[in-house]
Every structure is written in C-alpha cells, then in structure tokens.
C-alpha cells in the first residue's frame, strides 16, 4: 500500500506537471513581412492540454490539441509606386530612407500604400482560464473599417463593453466630420491640379491663427505650409495635425463668405 500510495502521489504530481506543461505549450507567432510588391502575413498557433491517468482511480487520459497555420499573401502597389529611394540623416543622426513614387511625391511608408485587405480572428477559450485570442488586420481599410475597429476594441476574452462601444461610435463620428472638413479645406487651397496655392494657404493659416492661436502656432503653420500637394496636405491634416482641422475649417468658412 505504501508503494501504491507513493506511486499514486507521484502520478498525481506528474499529472499536474503535465497539465502545466501542456498549458505552457501555447506557442504563438505572428508575422507581417513586407517584400517588394507584396506583404506576407503569417500566423502559427499550437495549443495543447494533456492529463495523465491516476492508477488508483483509473480515470482516463484527456488530451486536447489544436494546431493551425495561416498565410496571407497580400499584393500591394509598392513595386509600381517606387520611383527612387534616397537616404538622409535625421537630426538625431539616424539614417532615414525616403521612397519617392514615380510621380515625384513621397511614397506612403515605403510605397505600399494600396494593399488588399485581410482580417483574421481566432478566439479559443481552453482548459480552465487558458486560451488564445488573436487578431490580425492588414491594409488601409482592414484597420479602420467597422468590423476591425470592434475586433481590436475587444478585451482578452473577446468581449466589448457598452462604454467602449459608445466611445468608438463617437470617435468614428468625429473622424467622419474631420474627413468632410479636410475635403473642404483642401479644395479651398488647391489650385485644381493637385497642387497647393501657397498664397491661399497662407491666408487661411493666418486667419486660423487669429481664431485659435494656441492651436495654429508657428510650428504648426510651418508644417502645413511645407505641404505642396493636396494629397500631402490631406495626409498631414488627417494625422497627426487633426487638432488643427476645426480652426482651419472655421477660417475657411469666414474667408469663403467674402
């Protein structure tokens, strides 16, 4: 009996160890690699739980396993967008690579501005409180569209609370209003061929600075004045200088009355 008891004790310990090890074998990797002209997004997930049998009670083994791999090959416009690449030094002496598109304008983050959209979700609630909740979004629409917004707002259990949903809704309303304002502002300062009329932009900035001097500061005016095309002005106003949109729109409304 003593031997059996010791054996049982060892087996129970072994069972606990196996459970812990099993839960520990929750290996997850996720990658998103930009190649010339396409993006490869890959994930691999292995989840395993295993229980041993107790010789005293003759309880059976329980084995649960899950394994999957995903691969998304996402074409982009990087190959066609690239015109030339130059390397410059930043003020902190870091090297920065600037990619220019074939039309001479700066490429958006290396030229892969336009890519197909990929949205993936895995929500596995496993043994006890263990589990994996994995989300992946690639592409301009995939990261901002309603489904993706809700997906990334979920907590670790894959749930979204009412207050978060309310804030998301308000945030999306604000972004939509800002997009409308940006369209009006850019149309006002554009010369009609995609370039910015610098005199009109200067008048608009000066007027906006009188309306909101704490927002339209000298540094903000300089950054906006440096934009030479409608696209680049739209990009900067969308992010990171969206706090400047409202005073610029008020200035536009006043100037366009005259």
């Amino acid at each position: 009996m003593k031997t059996n008891s010791q054996s049982s004790s060892r087996l129970r310990f072994a069972a606990r160890a196996v459970v812990l090890i099993g839960l520990g074998i929750c290996f997850l990797f996720c990658g998103c690699t930009a190649k010339s002209g396409y993006i490869i997004a890959a994930t691999g997930t292995t989840i395993g739980v295993e229980l041993s049998q107790d010789t005293m009670t003759q309880n059976p083994n329980a084995v649960l396993g899950y394994k999957r791999a995903e691969l998304a090959y996402v074409p982009t416009n990087a190959a066609t967008a690239k015109g030339s690449t130059t390397t410059t030094k930043t003020p902190s002496n870091d090297t920065k690579e600037i990619v220019t598109q074939t039309d001479g304008t700066p490429a958006y983050r290396g030229g892969a501005k336009d890519s197909a959209n990929v949205l993936m979700e895995l929500n596995y609630t496993g043994f006890s409180k263990s589990g994996v909740y994995q989300r992946l979004a690639v592409g301009d629409l995939a990261v901002v569209q309603d489904g993706a917004t809700m997906l990334f707002a979920k907590n670790n259990e894959g749930e979204i609370d009412a207050s978060t949903a309310k804030y998301i809704s308000l945030a999306k309303d604000e972004i939509k209003k800002e997009q409308d304002y940006i369209g009006q502002i850019v149309a006002y300062v554009s010369d009609g061929s995609g370039s910015i009329n610098p005199e009109t932009l200067k008048k608009l900035l000066d007027k906006a600075a009188t309306i909101a001097p704490t927002k339209i500061t000298d540094t903000v005016k300089k950054q906006l004045s440096d934009q030479k095309t409608s696209d680049s002005l739209s990009t900067v106003l969308n992010d990171p200088l969206d706090p400047a949109i409202t005073p610029l729109h008020e200035a536009y409304l006043e100037l366009s009355k005259k």
Binding site: D94, T149, Y167, I168, K172, E174, T217, N238
Partner: protein
C-alpha cells in the same frame, strides 16, 4: 523608434476615452494616465513650456505612439 508620438491632455475622462478610440482607429498604441498636474516642455524644439492643472485636480494624459 516610433514614427510619431502624440501627447494630449484632456480635462475629463469621456473626452479622453473618445480620443483614445480615435487614435486607436488611426493605428496608434494608446495609454491614458491620470494626474493632478502636467508640464509640457517643447522649448528645445521651438515649442512652448506649459504648466497645466484642472480645477477639479484631475487631468487625463493621453500618450499615443505608432
């Protein structure tokens, strides 16, 4: 190194939470800190020195990076 860091200070939690979601939608990692006072010093780069304190002694600092 992040491409952009944005620091915003709001005087109430609702505005801070809406901004947090807005920045998340725009691709930022966002953290919100509560504090009684805040100092923003951008003078080395041509900015301003600001000392900020709300009447109810609570402000919300939203730090976003991407």
């Amino acid at each position: 190194m992040p491409e952009t860091i944005r620091v915003t200070i709001k005087n109430n939690s609702d505005d801070a939470n809406v901004l947090q979601q807005k920045l998340i939608i725009k691709g930022y990692d966002v953290a919100i800190f509560n504090a009684k006072q805040a100092v923003l010093d951008g003078t080395d780069l041509g900015g301003h020195l600001d000392y900020l304190k709300d009447v109810d002694d609570e402000l919300f600092v939203i730090v976003a990076k991407k």
